[in-house]
Subunit: 467 residues, 2 copies
């Protein structure tokens, strides 16, 4: 771990004056608590500041911009690419406390929240109006909306409901200079100027700090139907998923699990899956009762034609929840297999998913490391988990080489190296290979336009060479 | 009309060599044919170049960037904000000829097209696979996809299907410097770097020229049901629209027409509407047969409770088309009322639409000009048409004053001055009042990052002061 230098006394005094005495902490305990994210990366901030209002954050940013001290905003720090890690000293700005739902407007199907509202809490509050907030990263019971916006979080329902970017209408933003802008509008259409608002979504906390978020909500679908299908091979499962899409059914959920993931779940949850199953699909359709019943029937027929081993259709909400328990156990179950789970999330065109799924055993064979794959095949987004011991350097090196080949494969298929986790500190080394030098240079120009002194969440997304 | 200076002979020779002799025209006839757009604004380009390939366009832009000659890309020039008008001399780059549909991929529900493909032609080609391209600006039988992307075109189905930005996955782009980038990916999720791709959508041809467009397609809904309802007052109609949304029905189409528009349609199409009707709503729901039937029934009940004068429900496809004919006649019918129709398109939060509709007669009374309002109330987007004689200067001045008050009202309601037409040359004078100086300065920085010599579609979107 890189231990940053504490701020000098003058700086600490200034910061206390600007941010409020009680909102500034520099004990080693507080700094340790704000050093990590969902990766294993840890970097100690020099101090921790609790954000409490737009005005306070604007004042902090003005000061940071003048004194050239780095600010690293963070919500629940569940990110999986190092986006909120204090990369090189400076101040962790903790926003989880700004967790007020300002308004739910059922007439407009919109909500206004502060950045620290937990994703699931927004849907819970909206459910009283028969509404929900569709983006559902697996971390939704912990992750904050602000972090979701910063990372353009995806989730299990992406195939049908899209990603966070599709559900954000307007943002109040503190810029790296300390200026505050209102961008976007509370309207369904808006074509005034460049789309700064959508540019900020997915900017990984490098272009601005979101202090107020206006989101669209969606009516809760009246019915859902959940199916779990076991397949003989990974290719069978991927092919079945492809056939469902080609049949013009857009399931809310279409999740894939490979054999390694299934065994981990069996051991972790003490259940048993068919022993000859190499892969499984969790499928959920939602919508009006009649449509849902019809689509579930068509999916069952289609799975039978694809010669699945067996299909379980949940007959009740409780049964559906039991099917879901298996999928939800995937990530925790895999962490029991090896000391470190490196979770990649390549995304390829949906029709190319069978090829990607078949590539996993090839990688496993070539590099001699355990790999578990599961993910959101409805949108082509596959989580490829390298299960390694980070203290075994040769193994860690092989994992890195395997990741590089995995990325190359995704690009070769017309895909992308990250569907929802983002770049952060973890994947910056590869970005230019996907995007090319011209596009990376454009992005750096945008960063400079927003943040001329590079004080907001620096050292993320690109490899920054010294000027 | 401002008549630009023709290029000098050396420049014309260079251009012919770079772009191909047959692709460069400088006759007055060709220049006149490429001087206008859907507004009445006209500015003669110095010459017209026909774009034929990515490589040719890249070579043209490299030359233009070096010689500081402005390039104005255009598709079908149906835009309603001056976006493709050659604002201050330079070259009109005609892209309508690049109209090849490169690929339709039913497995991925995607299409790849050149920029000159007409919007409706893409849906026609996709219909063979049971698919369509949802963004449907009223100009869809003429407007090109490239122009749709540049303007982030909306349309009648925006409330349910969103706008062009929601349906674009990837772009091949010639930058103002002549560099070519591939941005976005053919995947449903992608979080690698800043979202340059979505920033380019709606950039009004000022940041890059799209030479290849990858779009998402959607399954054609199996059924639709169309209703036409006549209401006693504008407020009744707007309230009914609001109630439909609040009942969590998301119609594909929810169109509003006021009395002035209805009379124009009656005269133009020789039909008769109920004489006591001050407003009408055209409503269409689509989806699975059962859902559609159920939603249409609920809408009818809801309209009855809102005490509409009468509701016509189309019993067949032909009857539905007849109801549509009225709506489609709105724009042409209004052009017969006065020599000039200034078409504004404010957008407000849906729940505030009744207030906006009631404001139209206030404006009419205050400024003594005829105003017709119709539009996409499902998404809060109202087309406010000032019907004037541009040669009557006092009347034109009053129209401008009315537009300013209309914009102020939209902003006061938390809305925006343009839902789908864009800014172009027409609304640049107001942009800073909606966005504020900080955000406008950010946008200008982005323009400079992409186009350091300001050669691509200059003088659009912002008021550019001399440096």
């Amino acid at each position: 771990m890189c231990v940053g230098m504490p701020l000098d006394n003058k700086q600490l005094q200034d910061l206390r004056r600007i941010a409020g005495r009680d909102n500034v902490r520099d004990s080693i305990e507080e700094r340790l608590l704000h050093a990590y994210d969902g990766t294993r990366e840890e970097r100690l901030p020099d101090a921790v500041v609790r954000g409490v209002s737009t005005e306070q954050i604007a004042a902090i940013m003005r000061w940071a911009n003048e004194t050239r001290i780095s600010i690293y905003p963070r919500g629940a720090a569940t990110g999986l690419s190092g986006g909120s890690v204090p990369a090189e000293g400076g101040i962790a700005l903790a926003l989880a406390g700004m967790n007020r739902i300002v308004e739910i407007d059922p007439g407009n199907l919109t909500a206004v929240t502060e950045p620290g509202v937990v994703n699931a809490d927004l849907s819970r509050a909206a459910s009283g109006y028969g509404l929900f907030f569709p983006p559902d990263p697996a971390s939704m019971t912990v992750a904050t909306i602000g972090g979701n916006v910063a990372e353009n979080a995806g989730g299990l329902r992406g195939a049908k409901y899209g990603v966070t970017r599709d559900w954000i209408l307007a943002l109040e933003v503190v810029l790296p200079t300390g200026d505050v802008i209102q961008t976007g509008a509370r309207t369904m259409k808006n074509v005034v100027g460049y789309d700064i608002m959508h540019l900020l979504v997915g900017s990984e906390g490098t272009l601005g700090i979101f202090t107020k978020i206006t989101a669209r909500l969606h009516p809760i679908p009246p019915a859902r139907r959940t199916l779990l299908a076991f397949c003989r091979t990974a290719r069978d499962a991927a092919q079945a998923a492809k056939e469902i899409i080609a049949a013009k059914i857009v399931p809310a959920v279409l999740e894939y699990m490979d054999r390694v993931t299934m065994i981990a779940i069996e051991n972790y949850t003490k259940t048993a899956f068919p022993s000859e199953a190499e892969a499984a699909l969790l499928i959920e359709v939602d919508g009006p009762e009649q449509t849902v019943a019809d689509e579930a029937r068509r999916i069952e027929e289609l799975l039978t034609r694809q010669s699945v081993i067996s299909t379980e259709v949940a007959g009740s909400e409780e049964a559906a929840e039991r099917l879901w328990d298996a999928r939800r156990a995937a990530a925790p179950a895999l962490t029991t297999i090896a000391p470190l789970r490196i979770s990649e999330d390549v995304c390829v065109p949906r029709a190319d998913l069978p090829e990607m799924c078949e590539y996993i055993p090839v990688l496993r064979g070539e590099f001699g490391i355990e790999i578990a794959a599961f993910g959101h095949v409805g949108d082509g987004n596959l989580h490829v988990n390298m299960l390694i011991d980070p203290h075994d350097q040769p193994q860690a090196d092989r994992a890195h080489a395997a990741i590089e080949k995995l990325f190359d494969k995704a690009i070769a298929l017309g895909g992308t190296i990250s569907g929802e986790h983002g770049i952060g500190t973890q994947k910056a080394w590869y970005v230019e290979r996907q995007l090319g030098p011209v596009q990376v240079e454009l992005m750096k120009s945008i960063k400079r336009a927003f943040d001329p002194n590079n004080v907001l969440n620096p050292h993320k997304m690109f490899l920054w060479r010294p000027e």
